[in-house]
């Protein structure tokens, strides 16, 4: 369903700050795939997601989703295909707007924004139900400003917003990395729940090797803008953390961050 062919991206070409962020990425995802992505700092993981969502244009290569060529489509038009949760809990929500307004915005992704009410009574009831399912006590705070919530709560709401209308592809960019371990576990559990329930094709970047192994049906390792290891199915299920670290050093980069090692 997602087809990435020979995508290259270099930042600041021709200067001393030149950074070859992606050097020929080829990746095909099947519908329902849950891919975890690991790699050292600067391996190109986030850049890959930015290319898919169109934050920056690609230098060359093509990106397709369900046969639709996205390569030249502006980011806000592509948005209807995607849900995305960022590492920073501040990024995915509008802090000055109410919880229900944020959800209503996400519900209208890819639809024309008219002069009809921004939120209807029916939607409000639906939001209340969805929030109750999160079990964070947010169902009675629909009109609270999102800025008043904790990082974990905001991340849970962002996740809800990202999956509200069944995206073709859900992208999680270390979405639990900024949370305390307990909250991170909870958000991750929620992620599994939603992804499994709606069978959403998902890419999850993580620094945590255990999580990378425990979640999803496929694992990709990136280094210096390339995919250096790609494993799925039973082989992935059998993978252990030491093996993964071994692969990491073999990949030539060996740029394991302290954080990755500590969390392993």
């Amino acid at each position: 369903m997602l087809k990435i062919e020979n995508v290259h991206k270099t930042f600041n070409p021709g200067t001393i700050n030149e950074k070859k962020a992606l050097q020929g990425i080829n990746l095909t995802l099947e519908s329902g795939d849950f891919v975890t992505v690991i790699g050292g700092n600067g391996a190109g993981k986030s850049t890959l997601l930015n290319m898919i969502t169109g934050v920056y244009p690609v230098d060359c290569g093509t990106i397709e989703i369900d046969g639709i060529n996205l390569t030249k489509m502006p980011d806000y038009k592509r948005a209807k295909f995607f849900g995305r949760v960022f590492q920073d809990p501040m990024m995915g929500t509008a802090a000055d707007m109410q919880i229900e307004e944020n959800l209503a915005l996400a519900l209208r992704r890819g639809k024309p924004r008219t002069l009809l009410p921004g939120i209807t009574r029916k939607e409000r009831a639906m939001f209340r139900e969805l929030l109750a399912a999160l079990d964070l006590g947010l169902e009675n705070r629909l009109t609270s400003k999102v800025g008043l919530l904790s990082g974990g709560q905001r991340q849970a709401i962002t996740l809800l917003m990202a999956t509200l209308q069944n995206p073709k592809l859900l992208m999680l960019d270390e979405h639990t990395a900024a949370l305390d371990p307990q909250t991170a576990a909870k958000v991750l559990e929620l992620t599994d729940q939603i992804v499994n329930r709606d069978k959403i094709t998902t890419i999850m970047i993580t620094h945590n090797m255990k999580d990378a192994i425990a979640h999803g049906n496929r694992l990709i390792m990136m280094d210096s803008g390339r995919i250096v290891y790609d494993v799925s199915g039973e082989e992935k299920q059998r993978l252990t953390v030491p093996e993964l670290i071994q692969k990491f050093s073999e990949s030539g980069g060996g740029m394991l961050s302290d954080r990755t090692l500590l969390q392993s």
Partner: protein
């Protein structure tokens, strides 16, 4: 005795600054849309205020157009000015402040053209049926205040409705978190253009009223308008920010900010400030109010961080 008399005199003269403050407060609602909702400091207003005044006065005095219709055209002209700034900013990649300055500068010439190369065109309350005027006799000033209040109620009402629609939500999201807006499929460029357009339309309405109130449209009438608008927004926020949370109350606090500002101005003028020093005084007031949050943060004693909300 003399002192008390002075105070009584001042109180008696209050309706005029109140009316003036309401008109400027209306303009400040336009500034609120860009400065607070869109998070853009839009300097177009210095020009579009005069555009509103010029269009209204010329249409009524020279073309005999009905004054309410002329107000409508003034609104449209202001919208056009804001639209131009929006195009400069989003489609041509010019920083918002600079885009506003460019439009404002261009408007100076355009406003002179509208007024047929005159810097000042008068409109007489005796010859024309004006909506508002500064004439104090025959209870006219109270009528003026009442009509300004009506304008404000309508504008605030329409904005309340608008910013509660799908479109309005998307504009607020654009100002609040651009990346979030885009990743939710919102064309943020078009939303900025729409916001700037509406904002300057409202500013031009205020310009039309202001020209009637002062009896003429002047090519310089908008000079420093952005500062007065910011003053009203900030004064309103400092005084009522903690109290008012509802959107309607926020907008009204902006208007009250404008009224308070003009009461203070008329007071310092009474106390002997020269009219020529007024702009310096305004700039200082706004600078101080803008700096307050900065110094508050700097001087704040090291308090423990506010507790996170319980999950």
């Amino acid at each position: 005795m003399n002192f008390l008399e002075n105070i009584w005199q001042f109180i008696q003269s209050l309706p005029s600054p109140i009316a003036q403050g309401m008109i400027w407060g209306m303009m400040a609602i336009g500034v609120y849309i860009t400065y607070k909702i869109l998070d853009v400091a839009d300097l177009t207003v210095d020009g579009s205020l005069a555009t509103g005044g010029a269009v209204l006065v010329v249409l009524t005095t020279q073309y005999g157009v009905n004054i309410y219709l002329a107000m409508l055209v003034a609104f449209a002209a202001g919208c056009l000015a804001g639209f131009a700034t929006g195009i400069l900013h989003t489609k041509m990649g010019i920083p918002a402040i600079l885009a506003g300055i460019l439009t404002q500068l261009a408007l100076y010439s355009i406003n002179l053209r509208i007024m047929d190369d005159r810097a000042n065109v008068t409109i007489n309350r005796r010859t024309f049926q004006l909506i508002v005027s500064s004439y104090a006799g025959e209870n006219q000033l109270y009528w003026t205040i009442g009509k300004c209040a009506l304008f404000i109620v309508v504008i605030v009402g329409v904005l309340y409705w608008f910013f509660g629609t799908e479109m309005g939500h998307s504009i607020r999201a654009t100002g609040c978190n651009l990346n979030m807006a885009r990743s939710n499929g919102i064309n943020t460029d078009s939303r900025k253009i729409i916001g700037l357009t509406i904002s300057n339309g409202i500013v031009a309405i205020a310009g039309g009223l202001l020209a009637q109130f002062s009896g003429s449209a002047d090519v310089n009438m908008g000079r420093g308008a952005i500062v007065i608008g910011l003053a009203a927004v900030i004064i309103g926020e400092v005084i009522f920010g903690k109290l008012f949370n509802h959107f309607i109350l926020r907008l009204l606090s902006v208007v009250i900010g404008g009224v308070l500002y003009y009461i203070v101005i008329s007071l310092v003028l009474k106390l002997g400030l020269k009219t020529n020093d007024l702009k310096l005084f305004s700039a200082l007031i706004v600078a101080i109010f803008l700096a307050i949050p900065h110094f508050k943060a700097k001087l704040a004693p090291r308090r423990p961080k506010p507790k996170k909300e319980v999950e």
